[in-house]
Subunit: 344 residues, 2 copies
DNA sequence: GTTAGCACTCGTCGGCGTTGAGTGCTAACC
DNA sequence: GGTTAGCACTCAACGCCGACGAGTGCTAAC
């Protein structure tokens, strides 16, 4: 008993219908709405086969069938192979990022916003990361006697700022000299390398050991804290609209997962170089998401850093729409960040 | 028929019990658990009076009574007058901010986190704002040919960064010279003042008109965008645990309100100089929050800028606990930001 | 002023029959 | 051999009691 073409068509119809209605679909529905040339009895036989093959589940005997994770997998794989996903280039995406010069932070916030309204699911956008950032410029600015703000610009244009303490009597010219020296010495370093070099610098610039000390702590924090990539989330409330979350307990655990940004980031972060990742139900590897699907795509900056955009929805998600929206948004973001770093 | 002492005690008992259980409380409960010297019949008479006075509501005739917004108001006012709110100084608050040098952003994130776990409600923290920030230092850093990152440090230690475009052939020394000039010319200005002065500067530094042009756009955006104060939220999932949100539609509208940060910020933002604000149910002025209460407190930085911390919970919130936690957190944050700007 | 007693209300909960969607199987049909 | 009509069967959902019990208001007695 293999998977002939008709079985496939029927399976497709079931998935389509279930995605739309979230109600177990019966043989009669298929025979009337989709395969009008076949009777419900025939469909029934085929459905029984499909169940044996593991593509359908039956919540209880007198209910219709619902697609299994395996079915969605098949569905999505076909979708991806068929190349039918065309990047959504609706104005909503385009106009949102046009003309305006933007702060990185606001861009990813807005991207999450747009993604979620466009899909109706929950959207997550992860700022570019992956490669260790490289230091481009270091600036110490006095904010009050005894403390200074250390601003570090990295190659991705990312800024980290921290307050560090400095000797009380240090004036802004001195701070500037140190900044200059630090920039020169650590330019193009990763935080890791910076940590390694600071002891050497200390010997050279002995008068400013205290400042270097604070700075070193900051660097080691930056090194360890790469997991703290900023992550924007949008459309969480959308999820509550789907019947799969009428169970409060489920909704709660989902929400609380979304709230722990670190965990969320590591779930969303996409490794490898594929254009899309689709994880369906159990494939997510997260118990709280066992009946969600996560679709992610990447965008990249000129410097080769990769960010991830993703959509989280119920397993019966509108994959084809989500894929094309993600694709469109990915392109848009790549363009945006690409051009930022190399504009005429 | 006035409010004698006994009525007050009974009302108090009803509120306490309802806060705990979320179940309409009956006369028998009060007579057994609180006013053991009185019979349920007596309590019943008193409750009937209290209902006439508008302090109690009756969901239906054979259910117990629940406190009205007016009752909570009385309750909270007494709480505030009695001075019984002692700043919660449990280690949870203290240790979270000790020793570590922090980015402002992370501080408010963590504050929201701690507030929500400590209270069990949803917590919102608004970064300091109010006074127009004053420019302290401006730095232009080249990120790629043709674009530069403009970093503006303000008196509150806040950093804004934007990418602006610059002539392609400009090297970092030139950028530095401009930075220096800008800092000198605009130091201690508000964004508004900066906008005003830029035309004058343009005349003086004619060679760099293009850069100034971009910079001016940025300033005017900063001026208008003060409403975009950063806001951190924590413990949203907590809310779903309360029975008042078993209604999905309510939960959804609440969540979506929380998601629109701008609206949320303007709701939370506390005007005036009082230590606490307590808004109960309809007093919030937000239909989505008609059965929530919002309690806010302020913290302030050395420079006099005020931030707000707030807790959003059901109207039957544990006001006394929330008030003391907020008070503790407010102190802690004030200390933190106070010392940041004037450390030994 | 307080309390015991009592009739009354009304939401909640569990049981029960009805309904209807959907299945599986069998036998007939092409 | 695949397709279909027919039929018995299953089972969740729905609505309808009736019992239960928490709680009230009122009255009469203390």
């Amino acid at each position: 008993m293999g998977m002939d073409d008709r079985k496939l068509r029927i399976l497709q119809a079931i998935i389509d219908d279930y995605i739309l209605t979230a109600v177990p679909v019966g043989s009669r529905t298929i025979s009337r709405k989709y395969e009008t040339s076949l009777s419900s009895a025939t469909i029934r036989n085929e459905m029984s086969d499909l169940e044996d093959l593991g593509y359908l589940d039956q919540p209880h005997v007198s209910a219709g069938r619902i697609p299994s994770a395996k079915a969605y997998r098949l569905y999505v794989d076909q979708l991806l192979q068929s190349g039918r996903i065309t990047a959504d280039s609706s104005d909503t995406i385009r106009t949102h990022f046009a003309n305006r010069v933007q702060q990185m932070e606001r861009v990813i916030d807005q991207a999450a916003q747009v993604l979620s309204t466009l899909t109706g699911y929950t959207a997550v956008v992860l700022e570019p990361g992956g490669k260790q950032p490289r230091i481009r410029n270091i600036q110490l600015v006095s904010v009050s006697p005894g403390s200074a703000l250390a601003i570090i610009v990295t190659d991705a244009g990312l800024v980290r700022d921290h307050i560090i303490s400095v000797p009380r009597n240090m004036d802004s010219d001195e701070l500037y000299t140190i900044s200059r020296a630090l920039t020169e010495a650590l330019s193009d370093c990763t935080p890791q390398q910076a940590c390694d070099r600071i002891p050497i610098l200390m010997a050279r610039m002995e008068g400013n050991a205290a400042v270097l000390q604070s700075f070193s702590g900051l660097m080691s924090e930056a090194r360890d804290g790469d997991s703290h990539r900023r992550v924007a989330v949008g459309g969480v409330s959308n999820m509550l609209a789907y019947p799969e979350y009428s169970d409060m307990e489920k909704a709660r655990s989902f929400l609380s997962l979304i709230e722990t940004r670190d965990k969320l980031a590591s779930i969303i972060a996409q490794k490898g170089d594929v254009a899309f990742t689709v994880r369906i139900g159990p494939e997510t590897g997260v118990p709280e998401m066992s009946d969600c699907s996560i679709v992610t795509a990447t965008y990249s900056t000129r410097s080769g850093r990769q960010g991830t955009i993703g959509v989280i929805g119920p397993t019966r998600m509108q994959y084809s729409r989500v894929l094309s929206v993600l694709s469109g948004m990915g392109q848009q973001l790549s363009e945006l960040f690409g051009s930022n770093e190399e504009k005429q």
